[in-house]
Amino acid sequence: MIRFTMNNVRKSLLSNPVIRLLSSVTFGVSLLAVILVYASIGSALPQARGVIEMTEMEYFHHWVFAVLIVLFCVALTLATLLRVRWRVDNAGVLIVHTGLLMLTGGALAYFAGKIEGDVFLASPHLKISMPDDQVVDKVLALPGERWSTSAPALGGTVSVAVTDVAAGPVQPAERVAARIQVGDTTRTVTLTPDDPPEPLAGGLAVAFEPATTQTHFYDDHQPTLYIKRGDERDWRAIDIERLPAFRERFLPDAGPILNADGTRVRSHRTTPVLDLGPVALPTGWFEGWRMPVPVETGELPFDITINGYLPYIRGSIRLAADGAVRLNPAVNILPESAGRVAPQALFAFDPDRAYTLAGPIPVEFRWLEDPAFLEAWRAPLAGTHELAVTTTEPATERRLAVAIGRPVTIPGTDYVVELLEVIPEGEVDAAGFREAITPLARVRVTRGDQTFTRVLPQRFPNLARDTNAAGESTGQELLDPNIELRFRTAALGSVVLLATPGPDGSADLHLAQYRTDGSVTVRAVTLNERIAIRGGSRPMYLTITGLFPRAVEGMHPIVEPVNRRRPNVALRSMSAIHLDIVGRGPLSGWKTQRWLLFSPYLNVDTRPLTLQPPNSDTSWTFQYGRQRHDLGATLALRQLDTTMFPGEMQPTAWRSEFRYRPHGSDETREGEVYTNETYRVGAWTLFQSGADNERRWEWSILGVGNRRGINPMIIGSILVTIGLLYAFYLKPIIRRRQGAARQRAPHTNANAPAATPAVELASPKEQIGV
């Protein structure tokens, strides 16, 4: 008969090789070493986390780490049960291990449900503004707050003092009574948010802006795309899963992307594969990002894919994008010269945006209604400078090569023309052409006794203007309408992009390149082809990155160079995503690609994108930001208070006083968070996270988070501490007493306790490793 004892159970379990391995100290130590290495790499090498697009939280949320921790818990449990003798003198290790298990279990629960974010709150205030709505100053809506200025022109002192404030259910100020003084006149007014601005003097006015009430906070980690139709009030929130975080990752459709210093930005990997030259290792099992990122649009009449992500942009420039209802041809070009890239859009129908001299060679964009018109562009110029002369009487038409300072007699006429000056970047003085740049020629025309000077804009021949011998301009009236002059120059070389209508509303593109001798070559070009343009003072490359027959202006981000990026900005707060939108159902056939900038909140400092699909009378608005969570209450800031360092140059502490009303409750409560002090609102803990440091103390950002699993962690920590103290400092006393007792007993080795391991192992094999 087998006697059931703890030792027998232990022996039986330890005979299982898996349990023996899991419970062995060697395994536990190895596991600790692996956890150590994992944690060290993720924490000390943020670059390594950047490569795999993981934040610290994501890295330590990864299933690999979770497996390590669970294994550790299993090993610790088994070792505690099977390898440690359950005796009083071993109570220390038993308590420590139990505490560690509680601590780890609590941590797993804590991190599994951890949500962190923040909420933006602005306090109620009076806004003093100019007639053009330019804000002069703000006064907090608190009794006793005052604004004043000394303006003799306005009649002396102008001041606004808050005398009384009436609070609403949550609003700390719903109505404000203010005393207004202008010179010697004083009056009291009551201001509500719906009132028009109250005039002060000299165009100054005061208006009341209530506190922003918030019912939601925004998650720090989960990116979300918000979409709403037309004037709808509510947004549809779609979480964006597996979006990169730290690196530029974009497909060719989203590019080209430029740094603020004018250099091209290269995309990092766009598929989770580690390229080791001859071997490519798929790493998707570990890496959490992907590109392109599909967005689940559900019942919406379009599909969205994110095919570009930029983690840190400095700003944006306006480039062409598809989306206009009417014909409005545009190209996006990328002139490169001397390592610098200057992207821009050329709009054929916009005189001031159809021509650029950003590079060493001017580039012009023209729309030709008929492809047959291309032929006319294959003809070379007569020389570096060409003058096309048409006279009515006698009827002649000539194209002449001219040079500065060399008079030319026009054959068959008594006209003599002399090119006086060529201005490469001339400006045209005519309504509708104010910003337009074009090469200008000044030509002296002589016929018999009559001499005048005609200014010839190359791109706008109809805007030629004459100046008589006395130097007086004749305006739109030409002094001699009998002669018509057109000027073209290739002095700098030039490039003309010629777009013609293609099938199905598309367009074809040709490039005419004029060399300085006037010769020209015309060729078809394809998008994203890098074309070498020679003939100018410096070599230049031109890439056509987009051609849009029906173009609108779109935003195109410019990336901040890596070494100028602030290292501690909130995750994705400077980022942008590139949306590829393809209509379906009623919007079938609609396709557009747009960049969308990050907006930290849905209703504060937003950067939305509104699109109007063709053949649809409904617009769609998109916003890229953070996941929204219900706060469980409506919250409004009463006041942000600050404590300054001596010298009042720098704040040292902040205190946010707020009011809130839990959902479904009629009771309004007041709370405050400040440095080293949090506040609970329902399930959420609020703490001071950010504040207005511009000395107005208008707004405050409260961090919001939950704290599931805290209690087991606290109890676990206390147990570990008690266990350690017991094991290290109480156990020796127990041992010494036991030794003394043995010493008193006959036939006992007094030194025995000292030679016994502090924690006895159930299996002697453990001594040499299992």
Partner: protein
């Protein structure tokens, strides 16, 4: 604004022509003479409000000139002498090398356009003249580098030097706000002049450089300040010591009268601050600790009683001085001095040393004094020469002003001190162990390490064109990935070699190559150079020491290896400290007692006592940090690098505890793991604080 002033300076000085810069800073002998004749007893206790703190004028001067020149005064002049000479006679020194450019990379950049001789002078001395600094080339570089976050720290140091060099008169806020409170802004003497002028209707427009009039300053007060400040300037320039003394004393007596009651710091507090700075923040105590360490090593080797007595006397003297300095700092700041790097290092060392002395008092092991001396020496020498700011007294933000945080910090730094002490004892253990058991192998180890250091130094000119701080300064574009990749391969190779139990020589070679490639992968010139020197010198010292062991193999047992009686035998003695039970059993238990000498067992035992305490304190300190974070930041743990590496350090000691169960040579494993744990702690304390962006970056 600063650029405009610098340009103005250039204009002014160009008229005077370019004088050849002197090799070193030389003050006007008349100023030196004057400085010696003036008694600053009262003047040094005047107060300036600077960088969020009311400080003595003496402190202000010392900090200003530390930022400018790298020392708290100009050569030949006292701190206050330097201050007044600079305030009133700065134009005389435009061509004197005085502005210290500390970052090596920036020194190379700022001097690239200069003539070879001048450039070499700056590279050698780190000092530029004001005229050289105001050069548009240098100013353009600063503008260019200022937005770069990788150069933030370097440019900040330069800007601080510039603040003293060019704008000292604008930041000398010594006039209290008459109607203010302890947080109100103070004003410069020039603002008092502006106040005076504002009351005079004949002065319609105030010169902008004077600043705004001081609200609430009575005309007679303004007149008093203006008269004596102008008089001081005039007297200083005419080198009239008597007049200088008169005006200074008047100002020192009159300025506190302007401040509302309770705003001007008390005389006792100011005197304490002046004393603290005058005594060099007591960091020179490292000399005593160094001597104590030498005697302590001698005591362990010779076992002569008088050497041990001298060691203890020196240590007690040093620790007393150390305590006095800390106490003074505590008194001046009104808070426990554990809020910044300097305070934490100095305070933690003191706590550790006191603990070690108590242990030594009870246990008489002769190894605790070595650890205590080494800890004091390292902490104070770091405080004096290494830690940025050199221990300047600073105000702390309110978030750090919290009792739980104080307890957390105190416990953590105490555990760090114990970890450091333990690592020193571990080194002693290893030295004794290898000397006795494997001197040849240990010598090889040392010389391999030295070779690694040499390789690092030799690689510097190979991978770097120069130490300049420009955008990409490595010769080999892919140096980082190349060395990083090599490091990964070598790490794999080392692990494979360890698992296959390859010969020690190959494992050693792989390890050293792994270290070399990892250090090179960091790509920082100064870091690589430092590691190179440490490896070379440390390796040679260790190798040389072990050679002694090789020579005396087979000789009679020296006195320091004979039976030790420190712990009084297994059953004797009293007190908790006598029985360290750090996992795996007592040192010298049945598995390695036979192998090791009593001395080695005794060192192991002493080692375990420290590790015991460090392990508990580190855990409790970390948990209290989490408690503080929970009510301050709303979360107890966020995997911030500092938190993660605190956990990592604790994990190493958890590994250490459990490794003692499964290895034969417990002491040796403990010693090596203790050193690794200490390195992890130092990494967490230094590298994470200064180089990894996280919530603890302010530390």
């Amino acid at each position: 604004m600063s650029k405009r002033l610098l340009s103005l300076l250039l204009l002014i000085t160009s008229a005077a022509g370019m004088a050849a810069p002197a090799a070193g800073f030389t003050p006007d002998p008349a100023a030196v003479q004057l400085d010696q004749e003036v008694d600053y007893t009262l003047a040094r206790l005047m107060v300036a409000l600077d960088r969020n703190r009311h400080k003595t004028l003496d402190s202000f001067a010392r900090e200003a000139f530390y930022a400018l020149y790298g020392e708290d005064h100009l050569p030949g002049l006292s701190p206050l002498g330097s201050l007044f000479e600079w305030l009133f006679n700065r134009e005389a020194y435009l061509d004197q090398p005085v502005l210290k450019i500390r970052p090596l990379g920036l020194r190379y950049e700022f001097t690239a356009h200069m003539p070879a001789e001048a450039r070499q002078r700056v590279l050698d001395t780190k000092l530029m003249t004001l005229r050289e600094y105001a050069d548009p080339v240098v100013q353009d570089l600063i503008q260019q580098y200022e937005p770069r976050f990788d150069l933030v720290s370097a440019i900040r140091k330069v800007r601080e030097a510039e603040r003293t060099g060019f704008h000292l008169n604008r930041v000398l806020n010594i006039v209290p706000a008459p109607q203010g409170n302890e947080r109100s802004a103070w004003h410069t003497p020039a603002a008092a002049v502006a106040t005076l002028m504002a009351t005079d209707p004949t002065h319609a427009n105030l010169p902008a450089e004077l600043g705004e009039p001081i609200p609430g300053l009575q005309p007679q007060q303004a007149q008093f300040i203006a008269r004596h400040w102008a008089g001081l300037r005039s007297a200083w320039l005419s080198r009239d010591a008597e007049a200088v003394q008169t005006h200074l004393d008047k100002l020192a007596a009159g300025l506190p009268e302007i401040a509302p009651a309770g705003v001007y710091p008390s005389v006792a507090q100011r005197a304490a601050e002046a004393k603290y700075y005058a005594m060099g923040k007591f960091t020179w105590g490292w000399v005593i600790y160094f001597a104590a360490t030498l005697f302590a090593v001698g005591g362990l080797i010779t076992r002569w009683r008088w050497v041990q007595v001298v060691t203890m006397v020196l240590l007690l003297a040093a620790v007393g001085l150390h305590a006095y300095g800390l106490g003074l700092r505590w008194y001046i700041l009104g808070r426990i001095p554990v809020a910044n790097m300097f305070e934490a290092v100095v305070a933690s060392a003191w706590m550790g040393i006191v603990a070690a002395l108590i242990f030594e008092l009870f246990l008489k092991t002769r190894v605790f004094p070595i650890a205590a001396g080494a800890a004091g020496f390292c902490a104070l020498i770091a405080g004096q020469f290494v830690i940025p700011g050199g221990g300047t007294l600073t105000a702390i933000v309110a978030i750090l002003d919290d009792i739980m945080l104080r307890i957390h910090t105190t416990l953590i730094i105490f555990s760090y001190a114990l970890i450091f002490l333990a690592a020193v004892i571990a080194i002693v253990y290893l030295a004794v162990y290898y000397l006795r058991n494997a001197p040849s192998r240990a010598a090889e180890m040392g010389f391999t390490g030295a070779a690694g250091g040499l390789v690092l130094l030799a690689m510097l000119p190979v991978v770097f064109t120069s130490p300049a701080a420009s955008a990409s300064y490595t010769k080999v574009a892919l140096a980082g990935p190349l060395f990083g990749g090599a490091g990964v391969l070598l790490a794999i190779g080392t692990i494979v070699a360890l698992l296959r139990r390859t010969s020690g020589a190959i494992i050693g070679l792989l390890t050293i190559l792994l270290l070399v490639s990892s250090i090179l992968a960091v790509g920082n010139y100064e870091f690589i150079r430092l590691c190179g020197f440490v490896g070379l010198i440390g390796g040679l010292v260790w190798g040389g020491l072990m050679l002694l062991g090789v020579r005396r193999q087979g000789a009679a047992t020296p006195p320091w290896e004979q039976e030790q009686d420190g712990f009084g035998g297994p059953g004797g003695g009293g007190g908790l400290l006598q029985r360290p039970v750090l996992a795996g059993g007592l040192p010298g238990d049945r598995l390695d007692r036979a192998d090791n000498s009593p001395l080695i067992q005794q060192i192991d035992w002493a080692h375990l006592i420290l590790l015991n305490m460090a392990f508990v304190l580190l855990f409790v300190g970390t948990i209290l940090g989490a408690v503080w974070a929970d009510y301050s930041w709303g979360r107890p743990w966020g995997w911030d690098p500092k938190e993660t590496f605190a956990l990592n350090t604790w994990i190493i000691y958890a590994i250490l505890i459990h490794v003692r169960f499964i290895v034969r040579n417990k002491g040796l494993w403990t010693a090596w793991l203790s050193i690794i744990g200490c390195l992890m702690m130092l990494f967490n304390w230094i590298f994470v604080n200064f180089f990894i962006v996280g919530l603890h970056s302010y530390a």
